[in-house]
Amino acid sequence: MKLDETKLTAYLLGEITDPEQCRAIEEALAASPDLQRKAEEIRVLQNHLQDAFDAESYTPAQFTGIPVNFPKLNLEDQKSSPFHWLPLVSGLAASLALVCAFVLLDFGSSDPRGSVIVSDPGNTLADPVALENFDLSMIRSDLLGGSATWSDSQVLAKSPFYKLALESMMLPAASDVSGHGDTFLSAFQKPYSEVPLFWDGFGMTRLELALGRGKLPEPDAVQVEALVNAIVYDYETPEEPEEPFALHMEQTESPWTEGQTLLRVGLQSYDKPLESPRNSNWVFLVDVSGSMDEPDKLPLIKAGLNALAESMSPRDRVAIVTYGGSSSVHLTSTLGLDRQRIIDSISALDLGVGSDTDDGILEAYRIAEDSYMEGGNNRVIVCTDGDVMLGVRDSRQLQQTIGRFAEKGITLSAYGFSVGLGRHDGIESLAKIGEGGFGYIDSPLDLKNSFAGRLTGEVTTLARDVKLEVEFNPEKVESYRLIGFEENNEEQPLLVDSRPSTLEVFPGHTVTALYELIPSEILQDPKSQGAEIAALSEPVEEEPVAELVTVRVHYQPEGRTQEELIEVLFSGEPSPFEEASDDLRFAAAVTGFGQILRNSPYKGDVDFNWVLSTAGGAVGNNSGGTRTQFLEMVRQAEAITNSDYSAADK
């Protein structure tokens, strides 16, 4: 019998129970020394894997992370570990000692993975008031002539954060981030940390609206990374598009926990428009099903398409296919030159009956292929209110098709119109398989920038498949915590297996991530420890290791298939906090503020006063007015908290 290796593995793991098959496999093995060797290799590997997993001192609460629950915990208390020579983790400030999250695994439950129970101590702030979901319908109705609520509009109108969010085309947080949550991870066990490149661009605005209404936000709703990234930093930009990313690291003492440090990792991309923008071949796939019959749905899409028709270049092409009705080709691929024809066809878009999503998508790809532009920007763009996958007959087949076309150079993007500001995994997953972009449009305000501007801006994609990775050196770092970027609380079923995100990065994109580090106290003199081990075994060549972290950006430059890598080693002692740069001190102040609002166990003993004085002293250039606006928000939060307390006294 021809024995394939997958079957061999299965047999070795005891998965094959049929005696006939077992006999056949054994015969095949006996006859082939080569197979025997392969089998032995698998066996050896399995044993070592088993050892490695057993040796993990902490049982993972989820499969993509190995949380170190509390640095305070003595490693020796865990189940027997061969690593007893690791020292006790350095003690922490008393504030941390007050907060313990106990993670218990219940192996008796029917779920084979066990269940995780986390108990959380009570918060110390005044009772949090629930944050109503940021509802842009007020803006919508405002602009479309309905009844208006001015206070929210006024807040948004004067908010530089809102303007920046619209202008800079930020996307909602990537949903497949391997969640670090608010926990420290061991640098020894999990030295690699991936920094998400995107976050909720409206995170700061949500906070503004809550404060504008005189309320503190719900702790879980505060997204620290969104606050930190809403501020404009003065990073130097790369000179050449050939090296499109610059990394800016800085380390300082943690202002809220003694003995710990803050590491800022900043990514700044080349920010000038690229030399020769490509022409576009767009095929819009518009949802005309019943649910689109709202004044802020199909009409909004039509307005968006009009905005695009006005800004597209004569050499670009656009076609429109509808679905959710009798899927039909509404407009065949037309050059921008023929503007009137495009505008007329947009006017004529109307609702249909029935549903035929699969055919609609295939039709759109067919058109994109027929008018394919060599070296151009070829895209299918799905426009819907969110129910995009409901009418699909065969989703696996569809996903495969979309993935195949993406490989062939026809990407798929997805836009949700009037979906509201919650995440909608259907749209995001679709865009991810299609390797295109995604976005949410809620008002005519968004169209010019977030929709038309985005689409015409996509011809200047800088890079795709960008992955920002930080590797910690366990000899310098005991454990680390990525601040913010917690996974969204709602469980939404994902369409596909989590695949690496292949979102695109445009010129000027910047991201700032803050890590809190617990430095390693082992090995003041690495050589003495090494010498002990060396005496007992073969001498091993040790590389001199002095860096704190190695930061890497993997990316694929637009238009090329070769993957590139930028790698930077960062070392050095942390500066005293007062000597850190304006950018870092301000970011720390914003983080401190976010942690107070979240009632984070790591917030230490900083308060609003500390935030105000720290941020106030680090205003720097105040680019975009974001820093003074932030100070305003902190004062508001302080006033709200004080009035809550004085009300409680009565």
């Binding site: 290796e5 997958t6 079957k7 593995t9 299965a10 070795l12 793991l13 005891g14 998965e15 077992c22 054994e26 093995l29 025997q36 060797r37 089998a39 032995e40 290799e41 698998i42 066996r43 050896v44 590997l45 399995q46 044993n47 070592h48 894997l49 088993q50 050892d51 490695a52 997993f53 057993d54 040796a55 993990e56 993972p60 499969f63 993509t64 027997s80 061969p82 690593f83 084979p112 993975r113 066990g114 497949d176 391997s178 020894f188 066990q189 999990k190 030295p191 690699y192 297996d497 989590s498 695949r499 690496p500 081990i533 007992l536 075994s537």
Partner: protein, 97 residues
Amino acid sequence: MSLVDTPIMEHKPSDELRPDQEAESHDLSRALLRYVDRLTPAQQEVLRLKFQSGLSYKEIAEVTDKSVNHVGVILHQALKRLKAHLTDSGETIFNEL
């Protein structure tokens, strides 16, 4: 010695190792875990469900909503990948074979 007789999943008690062996195995475990982290999320999940939680292919298939065959393929690919990482980095554990 027939491979059938050899217990595959027998766990070597770590405290029976000599200190130098312990250090070596510590390095290897650490390297292995690092490589595991480099696998795709699907591979990592299946690997851990198998070797950490001790589920059978069938149980893994149920939990991850895949077919049993698919699970077998993912697991095999994961092991193959790990082996390649180890060999590339100069690991000698396969040399005695």
